[in-house]
Amino acid sequence: MLAPGIKSRPVYPGLTADLAAKHNLISAEADGAAAVLDMAKTVTPDFFQRSTILYCSAGSAGKIYEQALRDLKPNALWVFPTLATALFRLRGTIATLTMGTRLYAAGTEPFIGSVIQEAIAAGIDFKSVITEHRGSAKRRVQCVHCKGFTEDVTTNPVVCAHCGLNLLVRDHYSRRLGAFQGVCIDAEVPGELPETEDLYK
């Protein structure tokens, strides 16, 4: 579980099956698959006959879940190696969704954030997406100065991957950008930095 944050930070209440949905589009990343498997314990098999699972294995760690997801006998299981490839499919799929489809997202915060961004872009109310955080607490951080995004941030402060400034990672979160805000931490006295902490492992 993530530590509770400030009010701009989303809460991820956990996956619960929408039994009234005509169809379910379930996106999961790495350990997010475990959340899907946990949800499976609460439903009858016909739920997954109405479900498409889009799985981003995100490296070898995710591979162990692939067979377990297949065993749920979903209408379709699509497996992608990276976030970019998973999102490409998600974007194309969302564009053709029909009424009565429920969207789910389970995985790290950057993954959920990306799914929500795709949903918003397609006109889906972000509050209707069912989410669960699983796995690393890593963050996506946007540098407020150069606007570049730094991925897989596990420390605070962190160096901006684009402009090289030392960034304080704030808890302030933008749903539109799917990222936390990074602000130069030594702007007042350049070089005056606190210890780097592993806060988001």
Partner: protein
């Protein structure tokens, strides 16, 4: 009543200064000798002649220079002005609100002639004359919100109302006290206020939101907010914080009077007629400590407010590095006398 507009800068050589009249009309924000967040919203009704509350939109001696600074900011960073696609009706509402208000209250400087949707706008201080069709974006050189806010002092946000919340879905923000429109655009009221310490727990934002959701057309409201700024810099944005942040280390006992500025935001909120959106204006007034020290009540009170300020608030406002130096400087002017209630000079 024609204003005389000063030619001054808010960057580099910082030639900004207040005339004696501007000091007297400064919206000093402290009604008592201490400060804590409260829901300090009041009706935005016309105030006494000569005050910043006399008219709904206050145009003052800094107008032309303010607008030049905005143009410089937008030239460097166009994303300081953003508007989500569904906000275009609210943008036109804003054009109407600002043009009618400015023309009505400052007729020497601004004239608006309306013939149906055919509008004719004259802005004499900036040398602008524009004929356009209200509602037709192709007839203006900028999108409507950007067009009019390049000609009106203060930052402006347009808040859409839906789902029992307010959403910051458009704005032009070039003179902000360290918050980013680009980051916050699309957020709801609770989300964009998320970083503010103490106030959430005190229920301030719940009450303020409930109040604003019921804001009526023709009955605007206002509140004051404040912070402090080193040098008379309008663009204290987070975007440029790595450039201006070092200012905060330059305060010495010798230069407090010129360098340290109280920055007061008069925030106005209007319900808009066509879009049902809310205009949220944030007009910043700057005054340096030398000028504060010319008003006995204000110098005593500011000293006491800063001395007793909760550290979380001082930290959030970025005062930490120069707060004590400023308190020490102001202490010379605080004879311990009682201050009268209310914000005015005496």
């Amino acid at each position: 009543m024609g204003l005389i507009f000063k030619n001054e800068t808010y960057r580099d050589d910082f030639t900004f200064s207040n005339s004696r009249e501007a000091v007297w009309r400064f919206p000093f924000p402290f009604h008592e000798d201490k400060y804590m967040y409260v829901v300090n919203i009041e009706p935005h009704v016309p105030g006494p002649k000569g005050t910043v509350y006399e008219f709904p939109i206050d145009i003052d001696e800094h107008y032309v220079s303010d607008m030049r600074d905005r143009a410089l900011v937008l030239q460097e960073d166009p994303l300081r002005c953003q508007s989500l696609p569904h906000m275009i009706t609210a943008e036109w509402d804003l054009v109407e609100l600002l043009m009618t208000s400015m023309a009505n209250d400052f007729p020497d400087h601004f004239t608006l002639t309306r013939d149906g949707d055919n509008w004719h706008w004259v802005n004499r201080p900036m040398g602008i004359e524009q004929t356009f069709v209200f509602g037709d974006i192709s007839t203006l050189p900028y999108r409507p919100m950007e067009y009019i806010t390049r000609q009106c002092q203060g930052d402006f946000c347009l808040l859409d109302q839906r789902d029992g919340n307010l959403w910051m879905d458009a704005g032009v923000v070039t003179s902000q006290a360290d918050w980013s429109l680009d980051f916050d655009v699309g957020m709801n009221f609770m989300e964009w206020h998320a970083p503010v310490p103490l106030a959430h727990e005190r229920g301030v934002f719940d009450r303020a939101l409930k109040f604003l959701l019921n804001l009526q057309q023709g009955r605007p409201v206002r509140r004051l907010n404040w912070t402090m700024t080193i040098n008379p810099r309008l663009d204290t944005s987070p975007e440029n914080y790595h450039k201006w942040g070092t200012d905060r280390t330059t305060v010495t006992p010798q230069n407090v009077g010129e360098k340290v500025h109280l920055r007061v935001e008069m925030q106005g909120l209007w319900r808009l007629p066509r879009s049902n959106a809310i205009v949220f204006s944030i007009r910043a007034y700057l005054i340096n400590m030398n000028d504060i020290a010319t008003i006995p009540k204000w110098r005593r009170r500011l000293h006491r407010v800063l001395k007793t300020l909760p550290p979380e608030i001082g930290g959030y406002k970025g005062l930490t590095r120069y707060q004590q130096t400023t308190i020490d400087w102001l202490s010379k002017f605080d004879d311990g006398a009682t201050t009268s209630p209310g914000c005015g000079p005496e």
